[in-house]
């Protein structure tokens, strides 16, 4: 997994490359969570995320809860395989995301 963070004023954009599963979810969390202090807009670019398992959903939910208190969180360029997982689990009703 590769993670690239770019901060501009109160917006943090995170580009994730790889899958977010049991093995990589801790990495994903460790590379995003400590950096959202004072961030009002968190943008997660999912262009290069192949799939997400429940371990990834857990991190997304946790980030979402924090961001709802201090601003907002949006996933962009979400691929079909990830959208399928969101729809099956009802995460499509929770997360704000844009398909590619």
């Amino acid at each position: 997994m590769n993670i690239k963070r770019t901060k501009s004023n109160d917006t943090l954009t995170v580009v994730i490359n790889g899958r977010i599963d049991t093995a990589t979810a801790p990495d994903f969390e460790a590379n995003v969570k400590p950096y959202i202090d004072g961030v009002a807009h968190l943008i997660l670019d999912f262009k290069d995320v192949n799939y997400v398992s429940s371990a990834g959903l857990r991190v997304l939910l946790s980030l979402h809860k924090i961001m709802m208190k201090q601003g907002d969180m949006k996933l962009v360029n979400v691929g079909e395989a990830v959208v399928d997982v969101f729809e099956v689990t009802g995460f499509d009703e929770i997360l704000d995301y844009e398909c590619c």
Partner: protein, 136 residues
């Protein structure tokens, strides 16, 4: 039938995925089904890796079978760890708000929704969890 026995460790999820992917490719498995199977492996083998033998270490076997007419694959996860039926879990409320959302049970729910069959059996000291995915 093909099978692979490895240490039940998170690091081996990838080994299991590669083993299954190689078999799926021989069957020209559609991309979507392969992704769903990959996620199922992450959920099920991941569970075994984290809980079956904790805090000890043990082995797990993954068996791959093909059914013809109609084409389907059956993947069986076998471990000798503590008896655990993941299908016993109550289904998560997938319409709960973010605040009330429980993350436990979501993985197995995802597997149940994307596979055509999920079966659990405890036999001769083994947890045997079988998933079936139709490819035709």
């Amino acid at each position: 039938m093909k099978q692979l026995t490895v240490e039940a460790a998170v690091e081996n999820i990838e080994t299991v995925t590669a083993f299954v992917a190689e078999e799926l490719e021989k069957l020209n498995c559609p991309m979507k089904a392969e992704t769903q199977i990959t996620i199922a492996i992450d959920e099920l083998f991941g569970n075994i890796a984290r809980y079956a033998y904790y805090p000890e270490i043990g082995q797990a076997t993954v068996r791959f079978d093909v059914e013809k007419n109609p084409l389907a694959v059956i993947i069986t996860f076998i471990d000798n760890g503590i008896p655990f039926n993941p299908l016993d879990r109550a289904e998560p409320d997938t319409h709960a708000s973010a605040e009330d959302r429980q993350i436990g049970g979501l993985g197995i729910y995802l597997v149940k929704k994307t596979m055509n069959l999920v079966e659990y059996e405890y036999k001769d000291g083994q947890n045997i969890l079988k998933i079936k995915k139709n490819l035709a």
